[in-house]
């Protein structure tokens, strides 16, 4: 049985193993991913991001539990930073999701950011696909921070929650440009702490001032994830946003945009790999020499490298 067949038959180990393959040896996972593709497209993908320690994992655990009560199945991808020095990582998000561990309707996977950010975004995307094919109704992707890497990962989500907490001080000013663009929903967690109301008010003000298109104004919820307070409203908010995307056709538009990005990324990668393969027998070095000696300019050199696919000039192999 292939891993894809195992996954479609409900085998948890096959599911876990294909995820590992996507992380470690993505080329080898392609045929299984292809076999799973017709079974995907049903899951709703929810991205969750925000500063370290904001309560993202606790919140995801609560949201998942609520969705389970509503009869939905849930996949969770929890991304934590890999140490750039050792390549190791402590993946601790599951601490906050303990009680979901034995629920057969929930599958949780922790991932380290590992090497390249582009690589992570691609791996995450494929892990989402796998969980989707495995029949999960909702898939949560938790990432820390609101930097470029998170934005890339979050782009694969249908709905993005940005989690903030009181006491960030000026941080809210510095991150607001980035979060304005990616947030579909704001959650101010740790509402049991002082200053939560002010964060909510600041966000509302920020939204009032933004000239972002008015079709969807991100709602702002306050929660106490540790005591389950406000969770139902957030679940309704997520459903509301999905509903909104469906009604105005944006869900399909967003997804199509992602297919385009995905296909073009694969094409780019393949072209690069093949060309470098063709030129690997020393031809590239010779070209570099000529560019260094000013016998050729970089544009001409690049065109020459591209010749096998552009078919200009003599074409064929270099």
């Amino acid at each position: 049985m292939t891993l894809a067949e195992g996954i479609l038959a409900g085998d948890q180990r096959a599911l876990a193993r294909l995820i590992t393959m996507v992380e470690n040896r993505p080329q080898e996972a392609i045929s299984d991913l292809q076999a799973l593709y017709p079974h995907t497209g049903k899951a709703l993908v929810v991205g969750i991001t925000g500063p370290p320690g904001a309560g993202k994992s606790t919140l995801v655990g609560r949201l998942a539990k609520k969705l389970r009560q509503l009869g939905k199945t849930v996949g969770i991808i929890a991304v934590d930073p890999t140490s750039p020095f050792t390549g190791g990582a402590i993946l601790g998000d599951r601490i906050r999701m303990q009680e979901l561990a034995t629920d057969p309707g929930v599958f949780i996977r922790s991932m380290g950011t590992r090497g390249s950010l582009g690589g992570l975004a691609k791996a995450t995307h494929n892990v989402i696909r796998i969980l989707d094919a495995a029949g999960k109704d909702y898939i949560f992707v938790e990432t820390v921070g609101v930097g470029q890497s998170e934005v890339d990962i979050v782009k694969t989500a249908d709905t993005t929650l940005v989690v903030l907490v009181p006491g960030l001080g000026d941080d809210i000013q510095t991150i607001k440009a980035g979060i304005l663009e990616i947030a579909d929903i704001f959650v101010v967690n740790k509402a049991d702490r002082q200053g939560a109301d002010r964060v909510v008010a600041e966000l509302e003000m920020m939204l009032d001032l933004s000239n972002r298109e008015a079709a969807w104004r991100p709602p702002v919820y306050s929660t106490i994830a540790t005591t389950n307070k406000g969770i139902d409203a957030v679940v309704e908010g997520i459903e509301g946003h999905i509903q909104h995307l469906r009604q105005n056709g944006q869900l399909e538009v967003r997804r199509r945009e992602r297919y385009r990005t995905e296909i073009m990324a694969i094409v780019e990668e393949e072209i690069k790999a093949r060309l470098l393969d063709l030129w690997s027998a020393g031809g590239l070095e010779q070209l570099l020499e000529k560019v260094a000696a000013r016998e050729k300019d970089p544009f001409a050199a690049a065109r020459e490298i591209l010749q096998p696919i552009t078919g200009n000039g003599k074409g064929g192999t270099p």
Binding site: A16, R94, Q98
Partner: protein, 133 residues
């Protein structure tokens, strides 16, 4: 092993209330380049096994201080076998009397590290064994 970090689940079954030792080990394994899934206190064997499977770990490290190892460790092994996941390497650590060790190994625990074992020894053991599989 640069392209494939070893994945280790560090779990604390049983009811004892602190996890300082487990945390120290988790950090040491991370510093040795491993991905450590850390799940906190008071895990049931069922939770540990499900987590190990979902996370597709190479190694499960069980840490225990409460003395319930004779029951909990074999239970983990039994569940792994039920799920067809007995290929996952399981090691144990904590306050475990010498006399109990043979039976635990008999049950399928690959190695028991008693207090005084250096984290370096654990790292070397894991690296050696995880690379074989």
């Amino acid at each position: 092993m640069t392209d494939r970090p070893i994945r280790v689940l560090i779990a604390k079954p049983g009811l004892d209330g602190h996890d300082r030792g487990a945390k120290v080990l988790a950090r040491a394994l991370r510093d040795a380049g491993m991905e450590v899934i850390y799940t906190g206190l008071r895990q049931t064997p069922e939770q540990i096994v499900e987590t190990g499977i979902q996370e597709d770990v190479d190694v499960i490290g069980l840490s225990i201080l409460s003395g319930a190892h004779n029951h909990l460790f074999p239970r983990v092994m039994e569940l792994l076998r039920e799920k067809g996941a007995e290929d996952i390497l399981v090691i144990g650590g904590g306050i475990i009397p010498e006399d109990d060790i043979p039976a635990l190994k008999e049950a399928g625990i690959a190695e028991i590290f008693t207090p005084g074992t250096t984290t370096q020894a654990v790292i070397e053991y894991i690296k050696e064994r995880a690379q074989q599989s």
